[in-house]
């Protein structure tokens, strides 16, 4: 059952107010970042701040369009929008224009559009649609596979465009799934995979083997709490390792230590499994499965990294993880960005008073590093204010999501929260050296039509759903 409600009366004006404030502050800072004596008129459309003004007005028109569309459109056409988006992402791979090494742009006349920005909206809609379907049980293998498909298909296509940053955003949808009750063990597994991935690149194979064996033993101890069984397991492992090491040494076989440790692990686990079956010890199989799974995983990461990835890809991952420094590349940007923000002090240098964010000291100052301008010209007061605004917005959105009557709207709401949270956290985090440098924009702040429009549509679809929430009777 539905009833008609005047949606204009039910708009969440708090959110709209924060949105307008963020967009306005964003524009001011773009103006400051690009400002120089040669170009001063705010309507100079050859300059970025002039163009951004056009994008902002266009965004307002988009808001109007979003609001005139019926809410059922978003539910009914969620999959169609998603499917169309996938096609567009495929097309951009073939027909796209390359900018800064990433093939993620469509060029139509003078305007460049970046479809990957809009793909987040489609994914949030499709995910909400799927998980909210009444017959879907989230914690089944079938659901896992489909959910992973919905999230990672666009992510992989964007990765193929060579736009790693935008692809990583899709991990943020984990927040939606968390809220909807995805099993905690999945999150544990995900965390394990990420940790192992990093370990595989940081440590030698041998270290990883020894480390995972002792972690497995420790878990075994925690679960079972039986000193004798634990001691036997440890003893069997140490003895067989010592035996194989000794054999290798005295026979002068010169076999790589990695193999020796692997073989001794294999032999000792067979011995212990026999022992465990005899004495009916629990959890041994599951633990061994985890142990071998981890080893196989790290080895294959190592293999893929060194034998399949190309040099520049290896380099990018290494710099991302901070394993390799790139003096004039990423690390250099962070230093400059920290200097710019730090030099702002408590109260900042004042509007247009920044010196570090001028002259291209900070690269991408009006896009990915716009937060530097805020930090330099408005000081700690400014950064405190902006972060508070974002936190307020996100908390407000959680509240909005929670008050939805339809689970579709709630999940979409959390989709919006996920995407915005990830962008804000990574973008600001990288300018102050707390996060790896992943080139993604600061929502509503960064220069660029595509990202402003995409975030605007993303947000206002939620507000549209929210405005009609009372139409749904239950």
């Amino acid at each position: 059952m539905q009833r008609k409600v005047n949606i204009w009366n039910n708009i969440d004006w708090t959110t709209v107010f924060i949105y307008l404030l963020l967009v306005f502050l964003g524009w001011i800072n773009i103006y400051a970042a690009v400002y120089n004596d040669d170009h001063q008129s705010i309507f100079d459309f050859s300059q970025r701040y002039g163009k951004q003004l056009i994008w902002i007005f266009a965004a307002f028109i988009l808001i109007f369009i979003v609001f005139t569309i019926d809410i059922n459109f978003y539910t009914f056409f969620a999959y169609v929008i998603y499917g169309g988006m996938i096609l567009i992402l495929l097309a951009v791979l073939v027909l796209g224009t390359k900018v800064h090494g990433a093939t993620s742009w469509f060029e139509i006349g003078n305007i460049r559009i970046q479809p990957s920005e809009f793909a987040k909206i489609a994914t949030a809609l499709a995910l909400a649609r799927y998980v909210s379907s009444f017959n879907v049980q989230i914690n089944t293998v079938k659901s896992y596979v489909r959910i992973a498909g919905i999230i990672f298909l666009p992510a992989i296509l964007i990765l193929m465009q060579n736009d790693t940053g935008s692809a990583l955003v899709y991990f943020a949808f984990a927040i939606v799934l968390f809220r909807e009750g995805l099993s905690g063990s999945i999150f544990f597994l995900g965390l394990l995979v990420i940790i192992l991935f990093i370990l595989a690149l940081v440590f030698e194979k041998l270290t990883i083997i020894i480390l995972s064996v002792f972690v497995a033993l420790a878990i075994f101890w925690i679960i079972n709490r039986k000193g004798k069984q634990f001691a036997i397991a440890l003893l069997v492992y140490l003895l067989s390792t010592a035996l194989f090491l000794g054999l290798n040494y005295f026979l002068g076989l010169k076999i790589s230590k990695v193999y020796i440790f692997l073989v001794s692990l294999g032999v000792s686990s067979i011995i212990y499994v026999v022992f465990a079956i005899k004495h009916k010890i629990k959890h041994v199989f599951v633990l061994l499965l985890f142990l071998y799974g981890s080893i196989v995983f790290t080895f294959s990461v190592d293999y893929v990294f060194h034998n399949i990835l190309e040099k520049h890809q290896q380099k990018r991952i290494n710099t991302l993880l901070g394993l390799e420094s790139d003096p004039l590349g990423i690390g250099y940007n962070v230093n400059q960005s920290k200097i710019a923000i730090g030099s702002g002090g408590f109260a900042g240098k004042g509007f247009l008073g920044g010196t570090q964010t001028k002259f291209d000291f900070v690269p991408e100052q009006s896009t990915d590093f716009i937060f530097c301008t805020i930090g330099e010209e408005w000081g700690f007061l400014g950064t405190f204010f902006v972060i508070s605004l974002f936190v307020a917005l996100l908390l407000r959105l959680v509240l909005i999501a929670e008050r939805q009557r339809s689970s579709f709207s709630r999940m979409y709401g959390y989709g919006v929260v996920s995407v915005l949270f990830f962008h804000v956290m990574i973008n600001i985090g990288m300018t102050i050296g707390l996060m790896p440098v992943i080139g993604i924009p600061l929502p509503f702040f960064s220069y660029g039509g595509s990202s402003l429009w995409a975030f605007t549509i993303l947000l206002f679809i939620l507000l549209r759903l929210d405005a009609s929430r009372l139409e749904l009777l239950r």
């Binding site: 809220r179 003096p327 230093n335 200097i339 030099s343 291209d360 508070s388 936190v391 908390l395 956290m425």
Partner: protein, 617 residues
């Protein structure tokens, strides 16, 4: 139904937590930590890129081949420009007022903030003069750089050259900015990451008059430049130089490899060019001239030219025949001036008959190899000729033919060993027969091999069945090892026992008695047993190409060589004596028969052929 509503508070907590951490971090960065502060009097920082010296290149014996010379680029920062005394500026730099106006206009158009190159490669004298009065010219600064210098005018194809980066490179690789240099070809390109080192940056505080007031935060944020690694090449520069001298007035190439390591001792592509031409201010002009030269001196024939291997390929067929069990070292075939099958005839020269395997190589009998090749393809052990051909092709590929060898020379052609499908297409049936493709027996027809691949094959024969991937770098200073692939033995499909009779035949080809029919007696050296094989690549456009491959000494081979001379006719005429001189030069460092040297040096095929074609027209 909504049993997980409690999780919303965890999400709220997460958002607030991240917000708090960031605010604390910003408070430390902006308020507590004083190391980021700037004082009001010097509130502008200047970042100066430090360019490290590019690594030096030595030859295998430690002779310096490539080094650096300091040069200075005058840079301009459009936004910091102020009126200055142009006449003084012009006189020091020897430029005109128009040049200043024009260049500054271009620089402004490029970027107001980013520095542009105002004048490239100023002499150190002009630099010294300018340094004294630099304060009079706000907005300009000097960027020291290095230019390549060469001790020898040789090995240009091996070393390659260095050029300025273009927009495409800048777009794809964040390391480079406008005005940077990068290795464009040869060793300079393939070892760019080692040679270039790492750029550094110094951060200075600058006052309003653009004067440096000291280093920012006592250099805490500076990045030290890392000098490029020196590289020791595998090239023997004296041998290289000698090879280039012998190749004067001839088109073609020489590749010499040390069989026991795969190290390339010399790699000559003729005509070559003087590497100095592609350095400095006249680089663009010179490049243009070299590029339009009809003899293509920039083209690396040693790795990029593809010819049929000719009779040298009989070695491969002799080995495959033995391996497949269709011939042995004792198998003999008679030859009456050619190979006949029905109406088909493939000619041979007059020689003793019958011949065994070693003799067939010594004398280079076509008939013998027509028989061997047909036996390989018509082998009953295979269900069809196509399958037998597939197996033959596999053997051939195991010598490194038909694919790039993956050396560290950046441009390598893969050559051509046709697939069976290729012949299906040509003959429009899968039932083609051994006789259809009989020209492969003697290395003609659709085969394509590069001189590098041929030298590699020779090294493989010298090693009796394996090769190391040929490479031009022996050692990178500060790096223990090269790429692992250069230390790996690549085994062919042929067992080492089958190489004996073939090598014996190659020995006889060079060292046979006069009148025995040996084809390569022009390659004989006193006291050194050279094993070689001549070849002639059919050339539909003119005189055939002269080919010779050889290794020496027979026991414990030190050098394997391939020599190609375009339009040189029979392999024994020019290529064999040239190879002999190279081998003797490398092994003995002296030439026992100077008249051969004179014979080769006086050979002028370029002008001779040019005259000939003039007559024809």
């Amino acid at each position: 139904m909504d049993s997980f509503a409690g999780r919303k508070n965890i999400i709220r907590f997460l958002i607030i937590l991240v917000g708090l951490i960031y605010i604390v971090r910003l408070f430390i960065l902006q308020v507590v930590d004083s190391s980021y502060k700037l004082t009001a009097s010097n509130n502008v920082l200047r970042y100066e890129t430090q360019y490290p010296a590019r690594g030096l290149i030595y030859d295998r014996n430690g002779n310096l081949i490539v080094y650096n010379e300091a040069t200075y680029d005058i840079m301009v920062n459009p936004l910091q420009l102020a009126p200055f005394d142009t006449s003084e500026f012009c006189s020091i730099l020897e430029i005109t007022k128009e040049y200043i106006d024009e260049t500054i206009k271009l620089a402004r158009a490029y970027s107001l903030y980013k520095p542009s190159i105002f004048l490239k490669q100023v002499s150190s004298l002009a630099y010294a003069q300018l340094q004294e009065v630099m304060f009079k010219f706000p907005g300009f600064f000097v960027q020291p750089r290095t230019l390549r210098k060469y001790t020898y005018q040789n090995a240009s194809h091996v070393i390659g050259y260095v050029g300025e980066v273009n927009d495409k490179i800048i777009e794809n690789n964040s390391y480079y900015i406008q005005g940077d240099y990068i290795g464009v070809s040869g060793l300079e390109q393939s070892y760019e990451e080692f040679l270039r080192g790492k750029k550094g940056v110094n951060i200075y505080m600058v006052d309003v008059h653009n004067r440096i007031k000291g280093s920012f935060n006592s250099g805490k944020f500076d990045v030290r430049a890392e000098v490029g690694s020196n590289i020791i090449s595998t090239i023997d520069i004296n041998l290289q130089k000698y090879g280039e001298k012998l190749m004067q007035n001839k088109i073609g190439s020489i590749v010499a490899i040390e069989p026991s390591t795969g190290e390339i001792l010399a790699l000559v592509s003729s005509p070559g060019y003087n590497p100095e031409l592609l350095v400095g201010r006249s680089r663009a002009d010179n490049y243009y001239k070299l590029n339009v030269d009809s003899l293509k001196p920039l083209f690396n024939r040693a790795t990029m030219a593809q010819y049929p291997p000719g009779s040298t390929f009989k070695i491969i067929n002799a080995l495959i025949g033995q391996k497949e069990g269709v011939t042995s070292q004792y198998t003999t075939y008679g030859c009456q001036g050619g190979y006949y099958a029905g109406n088909f005839r493939l000619g041979c020269h007059i020689h003793n008959s019958p011949l065994n395997l070693s003799q067939s190589i010594q004398i280079s009998c076509n008939t013998y190899y027509c028989n061997v090749f047909r036996n390989i393809l018509d082998n009953r052990n295979y269900p069809s000729v196509r399958m037998a051909y597939d197996s033959w092709r596999n053997h051939v590929m195991s010598f490194g033919f038909g694919q790039p060898l993956n050396s560290d020379i950046t441009s390598e052609l893969k050559g051509l060993i046709p697939t069976k499908e290729y012949y299906d297409k040509i003959y429009r049936t899968e039932n083609w027969r051994s006789l259809n493709i009989i020209s492969l027996a003697i290395g003609q027809g659709e085969l394509g091999t590069t001189p590098l691949q041929m030298a590699n094959m020779t090294a493989t024969v010298a090693n009796r069945g394996f090769y190391y991937i040929p490479h031009i770098v022996k050692e990178i200073e500060g790096n223990n090892k090269l790429d692992q692939k250069f230390y790996k033995k690549n085994y062919t499909t042929i067992d080492s026992v089958y190489f004996g009779p073939v090598i014996h035949g190659m020995e006889l080809a060079v060292n046979g008695e006069p009148g025995s029919g040996s084809t390569a007696r022009t390659a004989q050296i006193q006291n050194i047993i050279v094993c070689g094989k001549t070849g002639t690549a059919q050339n539909p456009h003119g005189e055939d190409h002269s080919i010779f491959i050889a290794f020496a000494p027979k026991e414990n081979p030190q050098i394997a060589i391939s020599v190609y001379i375009e339009n040189g006719g029979f392999g024994g005429t020019w290529a064999a004596p040239l190879a002999k001189l190279m081998i003797e030069k490398y092994l003995n460092d002296s030439i026992s028969q100077p008249y051969w040297e004179e014979y080769i040096l006086n050979c002028d095929l370029i002008n001779k052929n040019a005259k000939k074609s003039q007559h024809l027209e």
